[in-house]
Symmetry: C2
Subunit: 119 residues, 2 copies
């Protein structure tokens, strides 16, 4: 009965429009500065970037290193604990890829992941 009941917890980590991309950048680029992240994520505002980073930091997924200097410098990186969720991300990624292929089989090429809208 209790199986699957906590996988929503995992979801809470990833929900948020920018968290997946942020994680992607940090996982592939390693340590990044605030401004680097902002430039790497076209369209994101400072507010959102800050907010999403703080939430990930709270969950011990990323580390925030502040250098006390002028002008300020803050670097973000994946924590050791955060590294341990790489397999999960990989599994989800693999499933996502396979699912896109499955959707292609069902509905043909050039299909988005969303159902077609109808008025």
């Amino acid at each position: 009965m209790a199986t699957y009941c906590k996988f929503e917890t995992a979801l809470e980590i990833f929900v948020g429009k920018w968290k997946p991309v942020i994680l992607l950048r940090l996982f592939s680029n390693g340590t990044m500065r605030f401004s680097e992240l902002q430039r790497a994520l076209p369209g994101i505002t400072k507010k959102m970037l800050t907010q999403q980073l703080r939430e990930l930091e709270y969950h011990d997924i990323i580390h925030r290193e502040v250098y006390r200097q002028v002008p300020p410098k803050v670097e973000y990186s994946i924590t050791a604990y955060g590294q341990r969720m790489a397999p999960l991300l990989q599994t989800m990624n693999d499933w996502g890829m396979a699912h896109l292929a499955h959707l292609n089989e069902l509905y043909g090429e050039a299909q988005s992941t969303e159902p077609v809208e109808r008025n």
Copy 2:
């Protein structure tokens, strides 16, 4: 570079306030009628239940079987393809459980999964 770039696709399947619980019920209970689902999910409206079910159906995760009779009867179940995502759900569930334990270590007991609010 392309790694993790499609795990957002996996997320799209689960986002939506009720999809996780719906999947949970269908996975554990097998076939269920519309009204059964509604009763099993306290607080859900027919509109939302219908909408989330349709989206899952589009993705070939669940099957919708309509019995042409009066009064109508519609049964929902996990498709064969849908069954194949059980391992993924299990993996996410396991990670979620472990993560809750990790948060407990960090912040102590009786903590929610969300950062404390401050005014």
